[in-house]
C-alpha cells in the first residue's frame, strides 16, 4: 500500500494549496447573501392559470413575453421554478393550456409543442410540429376524458396525444390560401371544429372526425360583416357561435339595439365566454363589453336563438369567469368610490356574481387600493373554490398596465405584489442616501450665515443635545432588543429611516424599466422603496437618466432627470424627480418642441447646485435646463469652451460643435466614415465620475511611462458592411471629442461583432468574434504619452500636438460574453477589474492585469520587477472569479458599477431578467479590518507591554536608588 500513498502526497498538497488560494478569492459560505442579493423576474404575463388540480394547491402558472414559463407560490409570490427559453421569436410562447397535471405549450410560432409536469416543472415531452404559423390550439375530450390536443396552423390541423405528444393525425385544411383559419373548438363530442373566415365574405366551419381526421361536415355561412373570428367570435352554450359585428354593432343576428344596449362610440365590442371543462360545452352565459368600463352579462336561452340580458355592469373595468365544481361565477371589478378626479383613495372593488342568474353572491366583496403610482388594472385572473359551507370563495390575480401582478385574497388583503417591470431594466443610477436628520442638523449649522455669537452657541448646544438624544435612543433600542432572538430584530427599511451609512455602502438604486416604470430600490436589502409609473410612454422610447444634483447639497433635495425620447420621431420629454423619494419635482421642465439629437451634462452648476443639462435639437439650437438667468450668464461666459459632438451612424458622420454666446452652435470639425465600407455601431466616452489616481506607470528601470489621460476621448467602434468572413473587420477609432482629431485607428481583420467594449482611464478593451478562427477574442489598447509629460498641470485637447504611443495586445477568450463593465472606486487607487457578463448567467471579475498590452512575451528582469504577467494567448476563466457563485443572472443585459465610501469596495449591480447586487474588492479589503480580527490579543499585548514598562521602570528606579546608596 505504500506506493499509492507516496504518489498522492504531492497532489493532495497541491489540492490544499489550490483550495486555499480559491478560498482567499471567493465568498465564504457564511457570507452568502450577506452583501449580495438577487431578485428573479419573469416579465409581462401573457397567460396565467391557477392550479385547480387540487383544492389546497398553492401553484400559479405563468407564461410571459420574455419566453418564460414559471410557477409561483400563490401564498408568497415566490418562484417555485422557472424555465427560461431562448430570447426572441424562437422561444415565444404562443399559448399555454392547463389540464390537470399537464401544462401544454406551443413555442416559437408553432415550432414546438411541449408538455410540462406542473408538479415538479419537468418536461414531459416535446414534439416538433410541422412548419406553418400557429393559429390556435385547444384540448379535445372524448367521453369526459381529455386525451388529445388539437393544434391549428395556417394550412393544417393536427391532433396529438396528451400522454406522449405523438401525432394522431394531421390534415391539410381545404382552400387554406383563401380562407383564414383562426379558431379550433371542441365541445366534448367526437368532432373537432375548425373555424375559418374569408374576410367580409363568409365563414367556413369544418368538422373533423376525432378518430381519423376525416372531414365529417363542411359548411359555409354568409357573413359579409365578419373580418376576424379571433377578435369578434366566441362559442357559447351548445356549440353556438356568437359573433359581434363591429360595423353595424350587431350581435349574432340580433341587433344590439334590440336589447337596449348602447355601444360607446369608437369602441370595438368584445365578447368573453368561458368553457370550464374541455369535455363539456361552454356555459351559455357570456359577457359583452360595450365600452371601456361597461360590461353586460348575457344569456343564450335554451332554444339557442334568443338572448336575454342578465345584468348590466357599469362602471366595470374588468370581468372574468371562474368555475369551481359545478358552479360558475363571474368576477367583476368596479371602481370603489367615484372620486377618481380627486386622485385620493382610489380603490377597486371586486364582486362575485352567479353566472347563471346574475345575482350577486353575499360576502364576496373584496376592496383593494389601487397604487397611485402604478398602472390601471389590465387583466383579472380569478380562482374560485368551494368553502366548507359550500359557499364560493375566491382569490384574484390582478395584472396592471405596468406589468405588476397583485394577488388578493378575501377579505381584501393584498397577499403579494410582484413588480414584473423590473424584468426589463433599461438604465439605472446609484444615488447616495441623504444624511440622517441629526447629521443634517450639524451640516446645516455650517451652511447658515452667522448671526451673532450667542445664537451660534445656542444652536451648537441644541444640535448637540439632539445628537445626545439620538445616541441615548439608540442605546435604549440596543438594550431593549438585546433579549430578542436575532432573527426578529429586522430593521425594516422605509423611506423615513433611510440614511447614509458610515462607509456609504448603502445607496439608492434608481432603475428605469422599458415599460416606463421607475423604481427606487435600497441597494442593501433590495426592497423597493418607491415606484412611479409614467403613463403614455411609447414602447420604443429611449431613456437617459441624468443625476443633476447629488445628495451632497443639503438642504437642496437631490434631483434626477429622465430624458424620454421617441426613437422614431426623436421628440423628447423630461421627467424631473427626487431620486430618494421618487416624487416628481415641482420644477417645470422646458418644453421641447423639436426632436432632440444630443444631451450633455455640463459641470456648470446653477445657484441651487444643480448641474446644467444642455439639449441640442435638430436645428442645432441649444436648450439649457435649468435655464435661470444665472445659468445663462455662466453659459455665455463659457460658451467658447463648450464643445460637443454629434454622431449620425446612418451617415457615418461624426461632427463637433462649439457653443456660441447666443446659444446657437457652429460646426467646427467633421469626420466621415463612408457607410459603404463600415457602419458605426457604438460610441463610448469615459465616465465623468472616474478618478485616476496614478498618472503613470513605474517601469522596471525606475522610469515612468505616463498615461495619456484625455477626458474627451471617444472610442468609436465600427463593423464592416461586408460580412464575408475573410473580408469582415471591426474598426476601433479613438477620436478626440473636442478637436475631432483621430488619435488612433485600428482595424481588426477577419472579425465581426457583436462588439462589447469598455473605455476607461487610458485604455479600451473590446471583445469581438474572430471569423477565421471561430472564437471570441479580447483586445486591449493602451495609450501612453511616453516617458515625459507634455503639460503635466492640465490637460487640454487644444494643446496636445503629439500623438500618444498606442500599445495593443489580443487574447483568446474561451466564452462568448453578453456585457462588460469596469469596476469603479472612489479615488481610483484600487486596481481595476473588468466585470464580464457571460451567457451562462455568471459574472466574471477579470483582473485588468491580465489585459495589459505590456505583458512580455519573453520574461526579463525589468518585466519581473514590474510584476507583469508573461504573455499567454489564452485568457483563463477561473471559477473563483465568478462573483455571483451560483446566483446566476439570467440574460444579463447590463452591469452598473458605483464607488462606495471605502476605497477598496465597488458596488455592482447586474441586471437583465434578474437583478443581482453585490460588492467587489478588486484589491481585497485593504482598508477594512477583518471580521475575525483579534481585538483581545492586540489589546492584551498592549496592556501587557504597558504594565511591563511600568514594572521595569519601577525596578530600574529601585536599582538606581540602591546603587546610589552604595
Amino acid at each position: 500500500m505504500k506506493p499509492p500513498a507516496k504518489m498522492s502526497k504531492p497532489t493532495s498538497l497541491f489540492v490544499i494549496f489550490f483550495s486555499l488560494f480559491v478560498m482567499s478569492e471567493a465568498v465564504f459560505e457564511d457570507q452568502v447573501g450577506k452583501f449580495d442579493w438577487r431578485q428573479q423576474y419573469v416579465g409581462k404575463t401573457l397567460f396565467a392559470h391557477f392550479d385547480s388540480h387540487s383544492q389546497s394547491s398553492k401553484k400559479l402558472f405563468l407564461a410571459t413575453d420574455k419566453n418564460i414559463f414559471a410557477s409561483f407560490n400563490s401564498r408568497t409570490g415566490e418562484l417555485f421554478w422557472r424555465h427560461v427559453d431562448k430570447a426572441g421569436p424562437e422561444g415565444t410562447i404562443d399559448i399555454l393550456l392547463l389540464h390537470g397535471q399537464d401544462a401544454l405549450m406551443v413555442v416559437g410560432g408553432g415550432r414546438l409543442l411541449r408538455s410540462w409536469d406542473t408538479n415538479m416543472g419537468g418536461l414531459n415531452w416535446e414534439a416538433v410540429l410541422d412548419t406553418g404559423s400557429f393559429q390556435a390550439a385547444c384540448f379535445v375530450a372524448m367521453q369526459d376524458t381529455v386525451k388529445h390536443v388539437a393544434v391549428l396552423k395556417k394550412a393544417a390541423i393536427s391532433l396529438h396525444y396528451l400522454t406522449n405528444g405523438h401525432q394522431k393525425w394531421v390534415e391539410n385544411l381545404p382552400d387554406s390560401d383563401t380562407v383564414q383559419y383562426q379558431a379550433v373548438y371542441s365541445g366534448g363530442e367526437e368532432e373537432v371544429y375548425v373555424l375559418g373566415v374569408v374576410p367580409n365574405s363568409h365563414l367556413t366551419i369544418i368538422a373533423y372526425s376525432l378518430e381519423d381526421g376525416e372531414i365529417i361536415k363542411q359548411r359555409s355561412v354568409e357573413a359579409p360583416w365578419l373580418s376576424s373570428v379571433e377578435s369578434s367570435c366566441v362559442v357559447v352554450g351548445h356549440g353556438v357561435l356568437m359573433c359581434v359585428d363591429t360595423a353595424t354593432l350587431a350581435l349574432y343576428a340580433l341587433p344590439i339595439q334590440s336589447l337596449d344596449l348602447e355601444v360607446s362610440p369608437g369602441f370595438q365590442p368584445v365578447l368573453v365566454s368561458s368553457q370550464p371543462h374541455p369535455a363539456r360545452s361552454p356555459i351559455s352565459e357570456f359577457f359583452l363589453q360595450l365600452g371601456p368600463d361597461h360590461h353586460v352579462l348575457l344569456q343564450l336561452n335554451a332554444d339557442g336563438y334568443t338572448i336575454a340580458p342578465l345584468r348590466d355592469f357599469q362602471p366595470a373595468f374588468l370581468v372574468s369567469f371562474s368555475t369551481t365544481g359545478e358552479k360558475t361565477v363571474a368576477a367583476v371589478m368596479t371602481p370603489k368610490n367615484e372620486t377618481v378626479k380627486k386622485k385620493k383613495n382610489v380603490a377597486c372593488a371586486i364582486n362575485l356574481f352567479s353566472a347563471d342568474s346574475g345575482r350577486r353572491l353575499l360576502d364576496t366583496t373584496v376592496i383593494f387600493p389601487l397604487d397611485l403610482n402604478g398602472g390601471k388594472p389590465f387583466k383579472l385572473y380569478v380562482h374560485a373554490f368551494l368553502k366548507k359551507d359550500d359557499s364560493v370563495g375566491y382569490r384574484v390575480l390582478v395584472q396592471t398596465q405596468d406589468h405588476a401582478l397583485t394577488f388578493i385574497q378575501q377579505p381584501g388583503r393584498v397577499v403579494w405584489t410582484r413588480e414584473e417591470a423590473l424584468a426589463d431594466v433599461v438604465t439605472m443610477e446609484m444615488v447616495d442616501l441623504p444624511l440622517t436628520g441629526t447629521q443634517a442638523e450639524l451640516e446645516g449649522e455650517f451652511g447658515k450665515k452667522a448671526d451673532g455669537l450667542f445664537p451660534m452657541v445656542l444652536k451648537r448646544l441644541s444640535s448637540q443635545v439632539i445628537l445626545l438624544q439620538a445616541w441615548l435612543a439608540h442605546l435604549w433600542k440596543l438594550f431593549y432588543e438585546a433579549r430578542k432572538p436575532h432573527g426578529q430584530v429586522k430593521n425594516e427599511v422605509t423611506i423615513e429611516t433611510l440614511s447614509r451609512d458610515e462607509f456609504n455602502l448603502q445607496k439608492m438604486m434608481v432603475m428605469v424599466t422599458a415599460s416606463g416604470k421607475l423604481f427606487g430600490i435600497d441597494s442593501k436589502s433590495g426592497s423597493i422603496l418607491w415606484k412611479h409609473y409614467l403613463e403614455n410612454v411609447q414602447p420604443n422610447a429611449v431613456f437617459k437618466l441624468i443625476v443633476q444634483r447629488t445628495t451632497a447639497h443639503f438642504p437642496h433635495p437631490p434631483q434626477c432627470t429622465l430624458l424620454i425620447k421617441d426613437k422614431d420621431t426623436g421628440l423628447a420629454s423630461l421627467h424631473v424627480f427626487n431620486p430618494i423619494f421618487g416624487r416628481k419635482s415641482h420644477i417645470a421642465p422646458p418644453a421641447l418642441p423639436r426632436p432632440i439629437l444630443q444631451s450633455l451634462l455640463l459641470p456648470v452648476i446653477d445657484q441651487d447646485y444643480a448641474k446644467v443639462l444642455l439639449l441640442v435639437d435638430d436645428q442645432y439650437k441649444v436648450t439649457a435646463f435649468p435655464s435661470t438667468k444665472n445659468v445663462l450668464q455662466q453659459l455665455q461666459e463659457m460658451a467658447s469652451s463648450i464643445f460637443f459632438y454629434l454622431i449620425r451612424s446612418d451617415q457615418g458622420n461624426l461632427s463637433g460643435f462649439r457653443l456660441r454666446k447666443d446659444l446657437s452652435t457652429e460646426r467646427i470639425w467633421e469626420v466621415v466614415l463612408p457607410t459603404e465600407v463600415q457602419k458605426i455601431v457604438a460610441v463610448n466616452g469615459k465616465r465623468p465620475n472616474e478618478h485616476v489616481h496614478s498618472q503613470g506607470r513605474v517601469m522596471g528601470d525606475r522610469s515612468v511611462l505616463y498615461k495619456y489621460l484625455n477626458p474627451n476621448l471617444l472610442a468609436v467602434v465600427t463593423e464592416s458592411t461586408d460580412a464575408h468572413p475573410e473580408r469582415a473587420f471591426v474598426g476601433v477609432f479613438l477620436v478626440d471629442g473636442v478637436t475631432g482629431r483621430i488619435i488612433h485607428e485600428a482595424v481588426q481583420r477577419k472579425a465581426r461583432g457583436p462588439v462589447h467594449f469598455v473605455h476607461s482611464e487610458n485604455w479600451v478593451v473590446y471583445e469581438y468574434w474572430n471569423t477565421k478562427s471561430r472564437r471570441n477574442e479580447f483586445s486591449v489598447l493602451e495609450l501612453f504619452e511616453g516617458t515625459e509629460l507634455y503639460n503635466s498641470t492640465v490637460f487640454s485637447s487644444l494643446d496636445r500636438p503629439h500623438l500618444p504611443q498606442v500599445l495593443q495586445q489580443t487574447y483568446i477568450f474561451p466564452s462568448p460574453i453578453t456585457t462588460m463593465e469596469a469596476t469603479l472606486t472612489e479615488k481610483g487607487i484600487t486596481s481595476r477589474h473588468l466585470l464580464v457578463g457571460l451567457p451562462s448567467g455568471a459574472i466574471l471579475s477579470l483582473p485588468k492585469m491580465f489585459l495589459d498590452p505590456r505583458r512580455p512575451e519573453v520574461v526579463t528582469e525589468h518585466s519581473r520587477e514590474e510584476n507583469l504577467i508573461p504573455y499567454a494567448p489564452e485568457m483563463p476563466i477561473r471559477t473563483e472569479w465568478f462573483i455571483n457563485y451560483n446566483q446566476t443572472v439570467a440574460r444579463v443585459k447590463g452591469i452598473y458599477t458605483a464607488p462606495s465610501g471605502l476605497e477598496s469596495t465597488c458596488l455592482v449591480v447586474a441586471y437583465g431578467l434578474d437583478i443581482y447586487q453585490t460588492r467587489v474588492y478588486p484589491s481585497k479589503q485593504f482598508d477594512v479590518l477583518k471580521d475575525d480580527y483579534d481585538y483581545v490579543l492586540i489589546s492584551s499585548v498592549l496592556f501587557a507591554l504597558f504594565f511591563a514598562t511600568m514594572i521595569s521602570k519601577r525596578l530600574a528606579q529601585v536599582k538606581l536608588l540602591n546603587r546610589a546608596w552604595r
Partner: protein, 251 residues
C-alpha cells in the same frame, strides 16, 4: 456639381501655384494596398481650403493643393502659396479674439477610379488661430484613411500648441506656412500570438531537459509489487493448503 467645377478650375491654377510655391511638404508612407493595382498612379490633386473670420462664420478660401497619389504606395504632398498682407492681418485679428482657424478637404478616395473619387461633403478640422500665429505658422496636418482608401478625417495641430499671448513682431514669420504633412492609414490590430507562445513553451520545455520517459506503472514500481504479490501468494498458498488439510481431515 459645384465641387467638380471647382476642381477643374483648380487644375488650371496648379501650374501657377507651383511657381509661387514657397513651401513644399511631402510624405510617403509605405502603405501597401493590394487592390489598387489597376488604378493610375499619376495622382490627383484636391484643394486644401482654410477659413478664419472674426465673426466665426466659415468662409473657406484656397490655401493650397494636395497632391494625392493612391495605389501601391500612398503619398501626399502639398503646394501652397504665401499668406497675403490682408490675410496676415486678418489672422492676427482672429487670434486676438480667440477665433478658430479651420481647414477642410473634400472627401475623396485614393484607390477608386478618377470619376468616382470625389464624394460630396468635406472633412473639417480646426486649430485655435492664436496658436497658429504664435507657432509662426508651423502646423502639422494629418490625413486619415480607412481600409479601402477613403479619406475619413483630417487634423491640424501646431507645434507648439499653446497660446501664451506672445506678440508676433515680425511680419515675415507669418508669410509662409511651415507644414508637415502625413497620411495615416489604419493600423492592423494584432491577433493572439499563439505560434510564438507555443514556440516559447517548446523552448522552455527543452531547457528544462527532456522529461523522463513515461514508464508504465509496473515498470516504475515493480520492486514493490513483486514482493507484495509474492508475499500474498505465499500467504494465500499457505491458507489454501491449511484449508485443504482441514477439509482432508474432515473427510
Amino acid at each position: 456639381m459645384a465641387s467638380v467645377s471647382r476642381s477643374f478650375l483648380l487644375l488650371s491654377i496648379i501650374p501657377t501655384i507651383l511657381i509661387l510655391c514657397a513651401d513644399f511638404a511631402c510624405c510617403n508612407t509605405g502603405r501597401k494596398t493590394g487592390d489598387g493595382l489597376d488604378t493610375d498612379f499619376s495622382g490627383f490633386s484636391v484643394p486644401l481650403e482654410h477659413s478664419f473670420e472674426v465673426d466665426d462664420v466659415s468662409r473657406f478660401r484656397m490655401r493650397g493643393a494636395l497632391q494625392l497619389r493612391g495605389g501601391r504606395e500612398t503619398s501626399v504632398s502639398l503646394s501652397q502659396s504665401q499668406l497675403s498682407e490682408e490675410d496676415r492681418n486678418n489672422l492676427k485679428e482672429v487670434a486676438a479674439v480667440d477665433g478658430l482657424y479651420k481647414i477642410r478637404v473634400p472627401r475623396v478616395s485614393l484607390t477608386d477610379r478618377q470619376t468616382e473619387r470625389q464624394m460630396d461633403g468635406y472633412l473639417t478640422a480646426f486649430v485655435r488661430a492664436c496658436s497658429l500665429v504664435e507657432s509662426h505658422l508651423s502646423d502639422v496636418i494629418t490625413l486619415h484613411t480607412d481600409v479601402s482608401g477613403y479619406l475619413i478625417g483630417v487634423s491640424i495641430v501646431t507645434i507648439p500648441g499653446a497660446c501664451r499671448g506672445t506678440e508676433v513682431e515680425d511680419e515675415v514669420d507669418l508669410e509662409a506656412f511651415n507644414t508637415t504633412l502625413t497620411i495615416i492609414p489604419p493600423t492592423n490590430a494584432p491577433q493572439p500570438e499563439t505560434a510564438l507562445f507555443i514556440e516559447r513553451m517548446d523552448i522552455e520545455h527543452e531547457k528544462r531537459g527532456k522529461p523522463q520517459e513515461q514508464k508504465s506503472f509496473f515498470a516504475k514500481y515493480w520492486m514493490y509489487i513483486v514482493p507484495l504479490v509474492l508475499f500474498l501468494m505465499m500467504s494465500g498458498a499457505q491458507d489454501q493448503s491449511g484449508v485443504g488439510a482441514a477439509n482432508g481431515g474432515g473427510r
